[in-house]
């Protein structure tokens, strides 16, 4: 064993190691701090720790580094992806503050944060993996604790049902995923990404089946149609903080990981997986939209909206280019802000009043103008209305897909934006236009929650207009190399 490698490990695996360190610190805080101190500061500490992790590890490295003989890959782009996830997680934690410190949940507060951090760690592994074993461990680390989190609420709501649905679907799809990996192993004899790319015989049925199984495994996390069916039920039943975590962070991580798996492992046969994705994207966007238009429960509604968003995200994968990666990461970043703004508002209102139905939101603007505005901005951004960030991200992701020649696909996606606009406007309509005799009373948002929403709104407003974010990502993507 070569001890000199430890230096490198510290250097290249900084985000992962720092995150684990932060988790351990949280353990100790949870163990030794007084409950009153924790009531006030636990979220703060968690966010702070995560922020520190982000700040320390986001030093942009210049080139691609591999560790463990290719099992772990660290590139500037992967670091950026991890940072994107971190930002999202911080926002989720901010918004979860009010809920997690409520009487019913306070007891399991420590576990909540720890599990969040663990899943984040799993996602890091997925993104940075260069080997299917690591990838699989990452995938499981990122989904099993989430199943626990989904079933977090113990009172008489739908949390347990969601937990079971998530878990069984996750386990089943991971079994299929494993089957796929085993076939790939049978074909190439190695599970290192670069080995597979080098040796796989792509024009065999076995390869295709393996690819389909692997896409299923990851598509489940991304909730692509037809692997999406768990999404709505789980989003609806899970605690709102977890729903938002699932819908942005978990989905984002899966998308990032998907890029690497497809681009690195299956680069010899792009036309095969592009063909599959072509169909999946159309199905995903369309079905997501079709289901979304008839939802009344806002969390369920956002679930379907997030399904169709996943379809848009996949356009960046289809592009199979540096531009596509840039657009995808940017899209997810924007999506995190937009979706979390929506969830922030929903979480606040749900926490205070327990109402999540769209009809309950009628006349919200009269009583809660600021929350309504935030919600509206989120909806507009999700629908891709300028000058909000969603417009830019959508434009760039379409541009990247068109660049690779997918005119028809983009056209279908664009037609779907009309449907999506329809249901996003329904929410806006409920808040601004519909009359209501007893609207939700004026709500005073807590400090953390407010910060969370304000940051999201700021992101929605600024991410598009400030071109530096996209520019930075674009520079990073050039280091990926095709």
């Amino acid at each position: 064993m070569d001890l000199s490698q430890y230096n490198l490990i510290w250097e290249y695996m900084q985000p992962e190691l720092l995150l684990l360190l932060a988790t351990i610190l949280l353990f100790f805080v949870d163990l030794f701090a007084s409950p009153r101190f924790l009531d006030k500061w636990f979220s703060g500490i968690a966010c702070l720790l995560l922020a520190v992790v982000t700040a320390l590890s986001c030093i942009p490295g210049g080139e691609t580094n591999t560790l463990f003989a290719g099992m772990f890959i660290n590139t500037p782009m992967t670091t950026a992806m991890k940072m994107v996830l971190n930002i999202g997680t911080i926002l989720v934690l901010l918004q979860a503050h009010a809920w997690i410190n409520s009487e019913a949940c306070r007891v399991r507060r420590g576990e909540f944060y720890e599990l969040m951090f663990f899943t984040l760690f799993g996602m890091y592994l997925m993104i940075s993996s260069g080997h299917f074993l690591i990838f699989f461990i990452g995938l499981e680390t990122a989904s099993l604790p989430i199943a626990a989190l989904v079933a977090f609420n113990k009172r008489g709501d739908k949390s347990y049902e969601s937990g079971a649905k998530y878990l069984f679907n996750a386990v089943f799809s991971s079994a299929i995923f494993l089957m796929g990996i085993s076939f790939i192993y049978g074909i190439s004899g190695s599970l290192y990404f670069e080995d597979i790319a080098a040796t796989a015989a792509t024009n065999t049925a076995l390869f295709v089946v393996a690819l389909a199984f692997i896409i299923t495994g990851i598509g489940f996390k991304l909730s692509l149609v037809p692997f999406h069916l768990w999404t709505a039920d789980v989003y609806q039943g899970a605690p709102t903080a977890i729903t938002s975590y699932l819908s942005v962070i978990s989905k984002g991580a899966a998308a990032f990981a998907f890029i690497w798996v497809l681009f690195k492992t299956f680069s010899p046969a792009p036309e095969v997986w592009q063909g599959i994705l072509y169909v999946l994207i159309i199905l995903t966007i369309t079905l997501g939209n079709l289901f979304a238009i008839r939802q009344k429960d806002l969390k369920r509604f956002l679930a379907f909206s997030s399904i169709s968003q996943a379809g848009y995200i996949m356009l960046g994968v289809m592009a199979y280019s540096a531009q596509g990666i840039t657009a995808l990461v940017y899209y997810i970043l924007v999506y995190i802000f937009s979706n979390l703004a929506a969830f922030g508002v929903i979480a606040t209102i749900e926490h205070k009043t327990g109402k999540v139905n769209m009809d309950d939101y009628n006349g919200l603007y009269k009583t809660n103008p600021k929350l309504s505005l935030a919600m509206m901005l989120a909806m507009f951004s999700l629908a891709g209305i300028p000058p909000f960030a969603g417009f830019f991200s959508k434009f760039f992701i379409f541009a990247s897909a068109v660049h690779s020649g997918y005119y028809i696909l983009v056209f279908i996606a664009l037609l779907n934006t009309i449907i999506s606009l329809y249901y996003y406007l329904l929410v806006v309509k409920a808040m601004f236009i519909n009359e209501n005799e007893n609207p939700i009373e004026t709500i005073k948002t807590g400090c953390y929650g407010r910060t969370g929403i304000v940051v999201c709104v700021a992101g929605i407003l600024l991410l598009g207009l400030a071109s530096c974010v996209y520019g930075y990502l674009s520079e990073l993507s050039l280091t990926v190399g095709f």
């Binding site: 507009f380 417009f391 379409f398 068109v402 009309i418 329809y422 601004f432 996209y470 520019g471």
Partner: protein, 497 residues
């Protein structure tokens, strides 16, 4: 800092001002101050433009400024104006100015109303000053979305349905447009060249392959055409206009629908001249149909706003029709028609709003003899009507004649025959205008309650008079404006030959 950006900056400041305004008085003060400022700026721009041209500046676009925005895609924030855009800017400024006065007593949520209205105007101004496709498209969509809330919250009738339909159909248009724009972008430079979004550069490169133009031209043309109420994608217009509040109808019919026409030639025709020539016949048929069809439909409507909306379909159809003739005169006519229709339809909607505000009905069967009760409004209505049916001395005539003469200069018999078809609309227009005037204003008072109505207040008068003066000014002295437009069109027309 380029002064053109002020067109966008002033409304932003206005929004800030509105946000801190406390009561109705302050809101009005802010709205009036800034819209006047904006009008001043528009006039200043025109003067400065003319001075610059007189000084011999022959650049295609003046006051150009280009700031790199998204470097990876070579997207710029690029602004510049030519004769057409400044005319449109002036139109917008006038209508916003008049619109502020027309919505003097808007309720409820007056602050929000003005905020949204201002956002709408940001989109419009931005669209007209942009010469970068991306920025242009962005402003285009910015202009569309406030419509939803403006109609939904402050509208009347089946406002939810209308607002949704309008928004979705226009977004459908912009979906086509987005694909078109991205497509143009990827063919904007010859093999190996730097791709660009700048309209002027794309035109200069002239690199869009012909077979691609066949796809991209319909996308962009229909995309913008939907906003220009092109048959059969015009159905948002009657419902939308009927449900919208006064100032919104004014701005939407007056300015927003012009975005469609402007976009059609600035993007579709200017950048894809080959396809424009090859495919113009298809759209000529569609627009020719919409000219006559809109007019016929207007003949049997009973709701004032529906009449006007269908009339807009007809008139805006004429705009697109003329654009497709692809010669300088007809296109000049198209721009003048945009200007003229913008002003007079805004006037119409303002008056309808004022009448509706008093009688609480827009059904012409329930009203009558308003001339005796509301002489000022009625006279204005007659003037608007006369402008609409193309009375010489008012703007409509100038525009229509330029279009007809220009279109008839086309060398192709097919185009000339269609011009004659379009000409027929002037008779039908007369029919429905006179029908309304006869039923609404003349005759005996239908509803005795109406006798107690009061005539226009000072702000309403100001709003209407502003527009009438503009309509008459263009109608009486069209020469300079026509020359201004026609000179700027040369560059576009040259590319077509």
């Amino acid at each position: 800092m380029n002064f053109l950006s002020l067109f966008v900056l002033i409304p932003i400041l206005m929004m800030a001002g509105l946000a801190i305004a406390r009561d109705m008085k302050q809101i009005r003060t802010v709205a009036v101050t800034f819209s006047t400022l904006q009008l001043g700026l528009a006039i200043y721009t025109v003067i400065k433009y003319l001075a610059e041209r007189a000084a011999g500046n022959t650049e295609e676009m003046l006051f150009q400024v280009s700031t790199m925005w998204y470097e990876p895609l070579n997207i710029h924030y690029a602004v510049g104006v030519d004769g057409i855009s400044i005319v449109m800017l002036l139109l917008t400024a006038i209508i916003v100015f008049a619109g502020v006065f027309a919505s003097w007593k808007i309720e409820p949520l007056s602050k929000e109303f003005f905020l949204w209205l201002t956002l709408l105007s940001i989109g419009v101004y931005g669209f007209f000053i942009s010469i970068d496709l991306f920025t242009m498209f962005m402003f285009y969509e910015v202009a569309l979305i406030p419509m939803y809330l403006l109609i939904g919250v402050w509208g009347s009738g089946k406002k939810n349905y209308s607002a949704m339909k309008l928004t979705l159909m226009l977004m459908g248009g912009s979906a086509l447009l987005m694909l078109g724009i991205i497509g143009i972008y990827y063919h904007s430079a010859p093999e190996g060249g730097t791709l660009t979004m700048n309209i002027l550069e794309i035109a200069r490169n002239n690199a869009i392959p012909h077979e691609w133009q066949y796809y991209l031209f319909p996308l962009t043309f229909v995309g913008f055409g939907i906003l220009g109420a092109m048959f059969p994608f015009h159905t948002w217009s009657p419902d939308g206009h009927a449900s919208a509040p006064t100032a919104v109808s004014m701005l939407h019919a007056g300015v927003l629908m012009k975005l469609g026409g402007y976009g059609c030639f600035r993007v579709a025709i200017y950048l894809m001249p080959f396809a424009a020539q090859e495919l113009s016949w298809i759209f000529l048929i569609l627009t020719g149909v919409s000219v006559v069809y809109g007019a016929f439909s207007a003949c049997v409507q009973t709701d004032l706003k529906y009449i006007n909306a269908y009339s807009s379909v007809s008139h805006c159809g004429l705009v697109l029709f003329a654009i497709l003739m692809l010669n300088n005169t007809a296109m000049t006519g198209a721009v003048m028609q945009m200007l003229s229709h913008g002003l007079m339809t805004a006037l119409f909607f303002a008056l309808i709003g004022m009448i509706y505000g008093r009688t609480h009905t827009r059904d012409i069967r329930e009203m009558g003899g308003l001339m005796q009760i509301l002489p000022f409004l009625s006279v204005c209505y007659v003037i608007a009507g006369l402008a609409s049916l193309g009375l010489p001395g008012l703007s409509g005539f100038v525009a229509e004649m330029t279009i007809f003469v220009g279109s008839f200069q086309h060398t192709d018999t097919f185009h000339r025959v269609f011009t004659i078809v379009a000409c027929c609309s002037i008779v039908i227009t007369a029919v429905y205008i006179l029908r309304v005037v006869g039923k609404l204003l003349y005759g005996a008072v239908q509803n005795e309650h109406h006798r107690e109505l009061t005539d226009a207040t000072w702000w309403e008068r100001l709003s209407a008079v502003t527009l009438i003066i503009c309509v008459a000014a263009i109608g009486c002295l069209p020469g300079w404006i026509s020359e201004l437009i026609s000179n700027s069109l040369n560059a576009i027309v040259e590319r077509l030959s």
